[in-house]
Symmetry: C2
Subunit: 415 residues, 2 copies
């Protein structure tokens, strides 16, 4: 795909975004519902396309996890369709009046929520992202410009076809959903430079993608970052609650960003609670600081690097801290600004931790695993932002919108 072709496609997507911004939520919901029906009706076609991708992936020996991420089944297609229907059922973020006031000179000011315009998504493997991301973008009135990986190209094409047909059936321009079919690195870089077309780029992928984005992107983007999440057990904690929360935060689904990676324990209770926590964490490899090792013989000493690591598996770093201040400092040093929990029955400790820990989410007396758009009540999730600009923490439909100022007068001019 030449740069000219990419720009030409980008222009059509932008044009479609303008049309979409004028539609009612009813129309956009109808697109999602039609697409959901057609995903199920055309499941055979999608699975056939997916089979091509799987076949190629297996020939290229890309590894079992990657193949699993790539694989679609009838159940997975149904779940994509259910996702679209659930998104259609959410309330419309567009048009919400955020606030408004009247100026002394009579100017009436209001700030209204509007679609971003064109949302770009660069993603790897998982073809369900095609349908999930498109659903959320369309619902919030945005055109979506997709650039998936080469390994999933046939599946992505098949899913995008269904979405585009649904747009057409509702009388809308197909280009409100567009896929960049050239999966070369050069085109990805060009894509990241579509300033003036892509209003927000959302990367869904590994460290190499993020590095390339930081290096190349000139369009605005929101990063979905790592989660080196801590659970701090305060001196006043209920031991049974601490065990339950630590076990859940670490082991309920260890491979995700809101799983806990590090345990901090107040020195006062460390000798009593650490053996209980070790039992609660049966099956988890623990590494600890010298104080932990002294209490739990057999636990290996943790390196500085381990304290900074998001293990994404059954391993956890453990440290003893002298005070809540010590816990806050440890988190400031090693945390990634995702989700940080405290278990405590002391109001002052809960307040201080909530105030002073700098993270997207602070959790008091609950599992870090709740830091998720669905669990916190957003209905749908685009990702979890660990940056501070625009969106922080779980991103829902609102984070796919921006504001427009509307200023109404009756002839006012400035003196």
């Amino acid at each position: 795909m030449s740069t000219t072709q990419l720009h030409e496609l980008a222009g059509r997507v932008q044009e479609a975004s303008r049309e979409l911004a004028r539609t009612s939520c009813e129309t956009r919901d109808a697109v999602l519902t039609t697409a959901a029906e057609n995903l199920v009706a055309r499941a055979d076609q999608i699975l056939e396309a997916n089979f091509e991708d799987l076949h190629r992936a297996e020939a290229e020996r890309i590894g079992e996890t990657a193949v699993d991420r790539l694989r679609l089944t009838e159940a997975r297609v149904t779940s994509m369709a259910d996702g679209l229907r659930a998104t259609a059922a959410l309330s419309d973020p567009v048009g919400e009046v955020l606030d408004g006031w009247v100026r002394p000179n009579g100017l009436m000011v209001r700030r209204v929520r509007v679609p971003l315009g064109v949302v770009g998504v660069i993603y790897e493997n998982r073809p369900n992202v095609t349908s999930d991301a498109a659903g959320l973008c369309l619902k919030s009135g945005n055109a979506v410009f997709l650039r998936g990986s080469s390994s999933a190209i046939s599946s992505n094409r098949a899913i995008v076809d269904v979405l585009r047909d649904a747009l057409e059936k509702s009388g809308l321009t197909k280009d409100a959903v567009a896929l960049v079919e050239d999966t070369s690195h050069e085109t990805a870089v060009e894509f990241m430079k579509l300033r003036g077309v892509i209003d927000c780029l959302i990367p869904r992928g590994g460290p190499a993608l993020i590095a390339s984005l930081l290096e190349n992107a000139t369009v605005p983007y929101v990063l979905d970052g790592d989660g080196n999440c801590h659970v701090y057990i305060d001196a006043s904690a209920d031991f049974e609650m601490a065990e339950r929360i630590v076990r859940n935060a670490k082991t309920q689904r260890p491979g995700v960003c809101n799983a806990a990676e590090s345990l901090l324990v107040h020195a006062e209770i460390a000798p009593r609670i650490l053996p209980r926590l070790r039992d609660a964490l049966a099956g988890v490899e623990l590494v600890g600081d010298p104080a932990v090792v002294a209490i739990l013989p057999g636990v290996e000493l943790a390196t500085d690097e381990e304290f900074a690591t998001e293990f994404l598996g059954m391993k956890m770093s453990v440290a003893v801290v002298d005070s809540i201040q010590g816990a806050i400092e440890h988190i400031a040093k090693y945390g990634s600004g995702h989700s940080e929990a405290i278990v405590t029955s002391d109001l002052n400790a809960a307040t201080q931790f909530s105030k002073e820990v700098d993270a997207a989410a602070v959790v008091v007396n609950a599992s870090t695993r709740f830091v998720d758009g669905g669990e916190l009540g957003l209905g749908a999730e685009v990702g979890i932002s660990t940056q501070k600009l625009h969106a922080r923490g779980p991103m829902g439909l609102r984070e796919l919108t921006c504001v427009k100022w509307i200023v109404q007068g009756d002839g006012q001019v400035r003196e």
Copy 2:
């Protein structure tokens, strides 16, 4: 300044930002008030430093406008101090609970406004930006990391000294305000790459700075963009109001971003209103499309480039459009997404224009010059964003904050 030295300074600024985030608004206001007093008390010192800059600038023949922007007078120092006092008087954005709810499982969720952390500012010439930006950042609980231009280095140093002394007097770490004294391009580029330290970078400068930022920055930033602002005179417009608004939008202060650059007139009224608008715009050079030239002999034909130009002076492009749809399309093609006005007495036209024009601000029956933080009631303005992420339109104290999720439970774990 070596990269190590910059990183060392950056670390201190980040450390100071954490301290600042724990302060009360009362303490931060006291810093601003003390700094205001000391700016006035130490005006001689500041003017002396400014004299060094001016002397060097004149020797280097940097041009009269640049020298004027650089020049401080006793009145300008007083106005900097007044600015700090006005900022101190604004209400505190930090701690505001944006929203909150209770989940079915009893988890109590709230989203709270918190400081960004470290705000970086790269700016050119004007030394008053040093004090204005620092005031707004400190008020909103952020440390500010400044990188001014070499031409203003002595003035900036003197002003930063006053601000740092005020921090110290309130018992705070001086490094909550820090100036990068090395003004080389290399260090500016390093500055733009301080990811993990600078939470938001605000550039205040010309196209070269923006280009360098797009090329080099890895930290999140908010751009203060161009304003190719239009005024569209609808068929139903009150002629007297149209004249008044067009004159004000174009000529009240032509060199600023919210001044109008382009005039669009509905074909139905063009023959009658264009001669009147030409009179209202006495002193403004007009260039127009063929329909305009046919009505106003002597007006030169406008090029496509002129329709896309932010003149920032006494020149204006003019076009006749067949319909409000034509006006909206013209704005989509040439506008920069800043401020777009309509003069109309037709409710449908006002509604359609407000809904379909994609800009930070849509103004109905008033001058584009009102699109300004002060005029719209924000109290203070950091800039006017023409991007859509994080902030759009006038940016006040709120735009120097982000949210933190606080989730409180009583032992909940995820199933």
